[in-house]
């Protein structure tokens, strides 16, 4: 399979390449946007992300094989237009009686009520967080990017990513300390190792 950067290089002087990039990543960008602002707005964000990406394709660093961090970065900027909507979504999550996690997750936390309190605490903290910390956090947690990917997406040095993520996680932990989660481990190698390194 050809890499993203090969497709983009081809699209620089031919009419092909970019359509495949859309096929490959549209759903992923949609999912990230939908988690932040809901499925309806996510349709627009997905479409606009690729239009902008096409217009700026000459700026894509062909050294990066995957275009996902770059696309996430464009989508993240577009999501800023929907900041109020996103804030409302987090507030709703903080106030709702629905835990917004799958039943097995709720069970792992303890009970449906425990899960609801845990998610509400988290949502309330994320809602109050500075936008730049929230962007870094959500690209890391939902975009599944590593530090380098977040740095590329946001166009910031990797050290800045580290400090933003550390700060975001401190805020979440502090909120959690006020409403502690039951200590039942769900093992996740990536998160565990990242938390040790943070």
């Amino acid at each position: 399979m050809r890499t993203d950067s090969e497709l983009i290089a081809e699209s620089l002087n031919q009419s092909t390449g970019f359509g495949q990039l859309y096929e490959r990543h549209a759903k992923t960008i949609h999912r990230y946007a939908a988690r932040r602002v809901g499925a309806t707005e996510a349709d627009d964000v997905m479409s606009e992300t690729f239009l902008i990406a096409y217009q700026r394709r000459a700026n894509f660093s062909l050294e990066s094989e995957s275009a996902l961090p770059w696309l996430y970065g464009i989508a993240t900027n577009l999501l800023h237009k929907h900041r109020r909507l996103e804030a409302a979504a987090w507030k709703t999550l903080a106030a709702t009686h629905e835990p917004a996690v799958a039943p097995d997750v709720a069970q792992a936390i303890g009970s449906r009520l425990d899960a609801q309190i845990a998610v509400a605490t988290l949502a309330s903290a994320i809602c109050r967080m500075p936008a730049r910390d929230r962007d870094a956090l959500l690209l890391y947690a939902w975009g599944d990017l590593d530090y380098e990917g977040v740095a590329e997406a946001l166009g910031i040095p990797i050290g800045t990513v580290r400090s933003r993520l550390n700060r975001a996680r401190r805020v979440l932990r502090a909120a959690n300390d006020r409403n502690p989660l039951p200590e039942e481990e769900v093992h996740d190698g990536r998160v565990d190792s990242a938390s040790q390194g943070a």
């Binding site: 759903k27 939908a34 997905m46 690729f50 000459a58 996690v101």
Partner: protein, 370 residues
Amino acid sequence: MDELTLLRKVRDDVEEPTSDALDAGSNALQQWMVSHPSARKTRTHRARRVAGWTVLGTVAAIGIVVALVATNILGLAGWRGGASAAAADTLGDAALAAVNNSDPTVGPGQYLRVATDAVDSVTTDGSRPGSFVGYLTEETSQVYVPANLRDNWVWFQEAAKPYKTFGAESAAAAAKNYRNILSGPEHGVEKLRAPGGRFYSAPPTVSPAALATLPRDPYQLLNYIYRVNGTSGSSPDQEALVYIADTLRSGLVPAGLRAAMYRAAAMIPGVSVIASEATLDGRTGVAIGRTEPSDHLRQEIIIDPSTGLLIGERMVTLVAQSGLPAGTALEWTAVTTSVVDSAPAGGTQNGAFDVEGCTKIPHGFHCPQG
């Protein structure tokens, strides 16, 4: 469960985009790509070949091209009919005149100056979701080609300014775009200077050296064009005329090859006289063109049959599209060539890229984000 693990589970069940939403996004992208084959034209050579396959009707001819290229036995030229009789006559006259009116000589230290006045269409998003707003911009440029082709070539391009708008929203979009361009680091004129015409660190798309290698026999030339075009463009015949227009508009085509190009155009099926008196940029000639049914675009070349000179070329849309009304010339270029004793000073090899502080990487430039 730590807070990051929990966060990763939150809203994990969001719906996938519907197939309608995926199609809408894909269509918007395709439409943009077709109307903007070269999105940052200051970043690349003016590659304005119209892109995109639109219709099934072209598939048969494409199949022929692919088969012929694969077998390398027979060309497409000459056995499927040709231009209308009137168009063939005009092109024949122009070819004769081109040969009889020899090109001006560029002496040592002198330059061939190619001045172009080009109009292009721009399409942007309208205020309503899914709507498009179109307008036309005009851009003048001068290329100075040295007598010794290895010396510095100079290329000055003025910023594209609004040329024609279609309604209030279109006018506002055009004005906003122009303000953005003028506020940019290029200050409205991009200046390039590069040995051998290697602007943007790439070889010139049309160069005298490459033109010298093209066949002078019209039949062989047309077959060559079909072959190098391959399956690009909306149909092999349309793309052949587009190739001829693109090449002629460089202003670098010597008289003998220009004559062969006119005769080659006379062998393309569907080519006819569009207007016996067509005015482009104040000069009048005969418009010879071909309409592509699959995308409703008409490619024209405007020539002066009495001198064999190319006045310019244009691409007209016969239907309303991308925010532009039917009958609009989506792009046109008028070309004037002359021999001059000097070229202006200033300019760097990568023009705006150098001004913006970009670095050259394989296949492109890496620019600071902003």
